[in-house]
């Protein structure tokens, strides 16, 4: 939890800072009193059990869910700076769209809703597709792709978006080892480029192997900092013990902002 250290934060300039953030569904907190910040160029895994509020947190970071208490500050970023890969289930994969068109959606910040697709964007889309190992797939309908291939297509779209901050919600769920390795290589390349990466992950081995920073969350924040100091046996036990029981008589939470969490 040392990345809230004022000196370090001052030096790097916080990119996204959260102070005492609570996100709730129907008054029940899914993310409870979370404070901390993502530094520019950091690569952070968000880990935790099911129902821990990981996806909720990512959606709140993307401004897609309202924060009921505290606030998220990413003042110097515009929506154009964010690249977001939602959970696979949220996309209609039977939609009659070609792979090329899907990737070119990543050029939205250049062409917007109304401008024409330029040759430059077409070329970039082709490059992005070959970077994810799908050369020559432009004309295939997305409905004909496997889950792994489709995830590669979404990564190609992220490549085209060229965003400063990349948020990924369970990018490797139901993806085989080889595809995961290829896509992880892309993530690491983005990290070397100095982009900020925030990824929700389930595979603790993966987190330990590739992610310098980890936010371990089980509704309440459990640890946030260098992966080795967060992913300890003690913390993981704490995360697993997360109260999943539903308290019918839960009272109003009066906890003041716990900045140090």
């Amino acid at each position: 939890m040392n990345n809230t250290d004022p000196a370090a934060a001052e030096a790097g300039g916080r990119l996204i800072s959260l102070s005492n953030v609570t996100v709730a569904y129907d008054r029940r907190p899914a993310v409870h009193h979370l404070s901390g910040s993502f530094l520019p160029g950091s690569m952070t895994a968000i880990a935790g059990p099911n129902g821990a509020g990981k996806s909720t947190l990512v959606k709140a970071l993307m401004n897609q869910l309202p924060v009921v208490e505290g606030h998220i500050d990413h003042a110097e970023l515009s929506s154009r700076d964010f690249g977001y890969l939602p959970q696979a289930a949220e996309i209609d994969r039977s939609f009659p769209l070609s792979v090329g068109d899907t990737v070119m959606l990543g050029g939205w910040h250049v062409v917007g809703a109304f401008r024409g697709i330029t040759a430059a964007i077409t070329a970039k889309a082709r490059e992005a597709l070959s970077a994810v190992g799908l050369e020559g797939f432009e004309r295939r309908p997305i409905g004909s792709l496997s889950a792994g291939q489709f995830q590669r297509v979404l990564f190609a779209r992220l490549l085209l978006q060229d965003a400063r901050v990349i948020l990924l919600d369970e990018p490797f769920t139901a993806i085989d080892a080889r595809t995961t390795r290829d896509l992880m290589d892309i993530l690491l390349r983005w990290h070397r480029d100095g982009r900020t990466i925030i990824a929700v992950l389930h595979d603790f081995e993966q987190v330990r192997a590739h992610f310098p920073e980890t936010l371990l969350i089980a509704r309440e924040p459990i640890g946030w900092g260098p992966t080795s100091s967060v992913m300890t046996a003690e913390n993981l036990l704490k995360a697993r013990a997360m109260a999943e029981n539903w308290d019918d008589f839960a009272e109003v939470c009066h906890r003041p902002g716990n900045k140090a969490a």
């Binding site: 993307m62 929506s79 939602p86 949220e90 939205w108 809703a113 779209r157």
Partner: protein, 289 residues
């Protein structure tokens, strides 16, 4: 009876048949693509609800101006938009989903519409409003239908990309700030507009027929969205042509004939289309890769 007598003479001899045919072509051009998008957005039944919602507005227009297509069209447009917007508000602010809120509003409007028509008109007028009078379309009504078709195509061309992006991946469009709700509203406006055009010809109950049947047929035959637009618009036009001819020679009501022709084409497509039953019964050998 020669082929000319069968297929061309009705249109060559009678102005009302020509106008009805042109009206069908215009309806197909506008409603076909709109129906395809409705289907892709999984809102097929929303089109049905909205077509019922048009009724009370049309009925109020009927109360004030008698059987004037313009007055009824404007009334229908207002009522349809009101239901579309109210349903949108309800589904965004309460736990009711959009389909449920559409259902509640359209049932209210349908009841209100039938009540209003019965206050003043005869049951014959009610039949006209419910089932349309495509053979009674005059030049001004035809201009209105043609204008709506042109406007629909132009607006669709403008909002095409955000609409497609929102159907495919709404989260992405939100993330890039694509103003999905605005385009959704524009799209609902187009749906209502086309239902008003269809209502002149086919009545409030069947206006949605030339929207959803061609869309379902298109989905069976075409693989890309533009391809679906073309199939939908042409099957709608073809249904109009065959339906009018059948109704002329057999002396049946024209609106149901047109919709039943579309249904027939749909049944044929279910069997013969690339993903249809015939292919399943007689599978072709698989390829090497």
């Amino acid at each position: 009876m020669s082929l000319h007598d069968l297929l061309l003479a009705p249109f060559a001899d009678y102005g009302f048949m020509r106008r009805a045919l042109v009206a069908c072509f215009c309806l197909g051009l506008g409603s076909g693509p709109v129906g395809v998008l409705l289907m892709l957005r999984r809102m097929s039944l929303v089109g049905d609800s909205l077509s019922h919602a048009v009724l009370p507005g049309a009925a109020v227009g009927f109360l004030f101006a008698g059987f004037s297509l313009t007055a009824m069209g404007i009334g229908g447009l207002i009522a349809g938009l009101a239901v579309a917007i109210l349903s949108g508000i309800v589904s965004r602010t309460t736990s009711l989903r959009e389909d449920a809120s559409f259902a509640t509003f359209y049932l209210t409007s349908l009841a209100a519409g039938v009540l209003i028509v019965s206050l003043r008109g005869s049951s014959r007028d009610l039949l006209h409003v419910l089932f349309g009078t495509i053979l009674a379309i005059d030049a001004p009504a035809l201009y209105l239908v043609a204008t709506i078709a042109s406007l629909t195509l132009i607006i669709l061309a403008i909002v095409y990309r955000p609409l497609i992006a929102e159907c495919f991946d709404p989260g992405f469009l939100r993330a890039v700030g694509g103003r999905g709700p605005l385009h959704h509203l524009v799209f609902l406006f187009l749906v209502v507009l086309n239902l008003v055009a269809g209502f002149q010809a086919l009545g409030t109950l069947m206006a949605v027929g030339l929207m959803m049947l061609p869309a379902a047929i298109a989905r069976l035959w075409a693989r890309s969205v533009p391809g679906m637009f073309i199939v939908a618009a042409s099957t709608a036009a073809l249904s109009g042509f065959i339906g009018l001819i059948a109704s002329f020679h057999l002396g049946y009501a024209s609106g149901p004939c047109i919709i039943l022709t579309a249904s027939l084409l749909y049944c044929v497509s279910l069997l013969a289309a690339p993903s249809g039953a015939v292919r399943r019964l007689f599978p072709r050998p698989h390829l090497t890769g």
